[in-house]
Amino acid sequence: MTGISKRDVLKIMGGAALAGPFVNMQSAFAARDKELNILCWEGYNSAQVLDPFRSEKSANVKAESLTNDPTMINRLRAGETKVWDLINVNNPWARKIMYPEGLIKPLPKDEFEPFFEKMLPQFKAPYRWAMSDDGKELLGMAQRFGPYSFVVNTDKVSRKTAEEQGWEIFNDPSLKGKYGILESDDWNVFNIFLIAGLNPFKEHDAAELEKFTETAKRIFGGAKLVGDIAAMNQALVSGEIDLHMTGGTYSVSPARADGHPNLRAVTPLKGPIDGKGGVAWIEITSTVNNPNLSPLATEFLKHVQDPAVAHTVAFAEGTFNPVAQMGNKACFDLFTKEELDAIQYDSLEEEMSRSAEYDIVPDYDKALEILTAAKRAKG
């Protein structure tokens, strides 16, 4: 026989239980100068962006990409601040949620504020979304951004018609079954409010939520499909749909770059957000409040400010987007005519001026519940 008794097994288990915390402690305080973990939207996780940094620093860089902000924030809330060094999410989260909840830590202003001077004019320091609410702390760096309202096939719906009608176009009964909805439910909450003629970024009363409910049921009920970016572009190209709700440069640029310039992101001329009809996003990348933050986190943030790297970020695999660093001529000159056309640079400035910036919906939980029920009712 082996001679191992139950007592021996218990001893081993007890030993392991005692040793466990020390093993964790060792890993927690181990030097992390050659290790970097990034939680981000896709693009920053691509080899094109990461490989040069890996080689330069001889570092082990891991990046996980997700396609919605709430999931990333929840990962930190669930205790993963110990895991990640950088988090890349849309603009309101750093200032309004993550910093107040202690999930991120500020950047050294003297080191990072000068980078904003080389960005496009609207990003000049102190850039509101990169700062804490009291304006004292720098919470992250801006890079990719873009207008994000809806996308049309201009062969079927002209840009002029789409811009002039704005969100009202989705109330047109003749378009029932001819539009899709991008599966991006936080944005869909904004856009159902906008189609209902309501400003999403304020508290809503019962009558407004009733209107939201009716609109959500009607819009989801009339959609040909709900799907991801690939499904939307595929359906637009094939002619299954003429337009889709929730989308912009971010979603349509791959199709435009692929030879479909007739597909175009549209920003309404007017709307219910203080006259603005569009919504735009700006990514802010922050250092996580990791008790053992990798020193490479700030190094990486500096690395992506480089004009060539910023251009790579703009055209990393997946989606193509404008970057704040295009304000630097050295960066802008790297963009070819085709690339500028893919990201609709011709109308970028006016579309951004017609867009409100992505913000937190105060009654998001209730609105999402209604929206999810509307999706279920479709079946």
């Binding site: 026989m1 082996t2 001679g3 191992i4 008794s5 139950k6 007592r7 097994v9 919605n68 709430p70 999931t71 924030i73 929840n74 809330r77 669930a78 205790g79 899709g180 599966e183 439910d185 936080d186 040909k224 499909l225 709900v226 799907g227 991801d228 690939a230 499904a231 595929q234 359906a235 094939s238 002619g239 299954e240 939980d365 999402l368 519940e369 999810t372 029920a373 999706k375 279920r376 009712a377 479709k378 079946g379």
Partner: protein, 310 residues
């Protein structure tokens, strides 16, 4: 016959000797048996890889909504939300269970003749045909489903080809029917191979004897083949059902979310809704439903017979 008798005697002697040995060693009850020792790696793996995550999900289901107070709070609020008559989440469960049931029924009908062919007809080609059914499993499910999407889409492979002969393709994409098609396609191998195993267990001599005694083909199938192959068929059905009830990619890619399935609702709770406790409660309910159905099915199976121990 003599050999068999001898072997049996030797086995009986060995068993007797082992029993005597155990009696002579009073310290042995304190030792781990060899069987227990061998099963330790499996037990530990199950404990860490299966029981621990399941226990965490279960604990989250009773945590305060929209919090991470797992193991620190206890509330039934998440279940109250789910069972609230105003909540329509039950429709997602109905869709999941209905689509999974339909998948199982369709696959039983589709896979049986193929399995019969693999077990009885294809002979030396059976291996090659099996590889053809296994090969798609090496390609990501999403890629395969997008492939079907391109096949059915307007101006796609089917529609484009039919237009060449002056016809139009059917408008089937983004419907519950397309979701069902995707599930039947994806889960075919999981029904097929247990079914082949079941049919391979039917002794040919028995079928021949029944035929010699004048049984019709239908009677042979009903009275001999089907009952004897049933354990394999049941395993295929069970496996397919459990997988299909958790399917989500088919309803998203081919179905265009024309219906929302239970796993999609769980996904929404964990992502956009930032409500892990609610997602866990939904997951727990689905696990219980599938678990109960599986246990009922397993209780009707004779696993020892299927595994050839008797």
């Amino acid at each position: 016959m003599a050999d068999v008798t001898l072997n049996r005697s030797a086995a009986v002697e060995a068993a007797r000797g082992d029993a005597q040995g155990k009696a002579a060693n009073p310290a042995s009850p304190r030792k781990l048996s060899r069987g227990m020792l061998c099963s330790l790696p499996v037990l530990l793996t199950l404990l860490l890889g299966f029981v621990a995550p399941l226990a965490t999900v279960a604990a989250y289901a009773f945590a305060t909504p929209r919090s991470f107070d797992v193991f620190r709070s206890f509330t039934l609020e998440n279940f109250e939300t789910i069972f609230d008559p105003a909540n329509t989440v039950w429709t997602s469960f109905v869709w999941s269970l209905a689509l999974a049931t339909a998948t199982v029924v369709l696959l039983a009908i589709i896979a049986y003749p193929i399995a019969w062919g693999l077990a009885r007809v294809f002979g030396r080609w059976a291996g090659f045909v099996s590889v053809l059914f296994v090969f798609p499993l090496f390609v990501s499910e999403n890629v395969r489903l997008y492939g079907w999407s391109l096949f059915f889409i307007k101006n796609g492979v089917l529609d484009g080809a039919l237009k060449l002969i002056g016809m139009a393709g059917p408008d089937v994409l983004y419907t519950p029917g397309a979701t069902l098609f995707g599930m039947v396609y994806v889960y075919l191998p999981f029904m097929l191979f247990p079914m082949v195993l079941g049919l391979a267990m039917v002794p040919k001599e028995l079928v021949e004897a029944a035929r010699d005694l004048g049984a019709s083909r239908l009677m042979i199938w009903r009275e001999i083949e089907l009952p004897l192959a049933m354990p394999g068929i049941m395993i295929g059905m069970l496996l397919t059902f459990v997988l299909a009830v958790g399917a989500v990619a088919e309803s998203k890619i081919l179905g265009g979310q024309s219906v929302i399935v239970a796993t999609h609702d769980i996904e929404i709770a964990f992502t956009y809704a930032q409500n892990w406790p609610l997602g866990s409660a939904l997951a727990l309910i689905l696990t219980v439903i599938v678990g109960v159905l599986s246990l009922v099915a397993i209780s009707r199976l004779d696993l020892d017979r299927i595994l050839g121990r008797r």
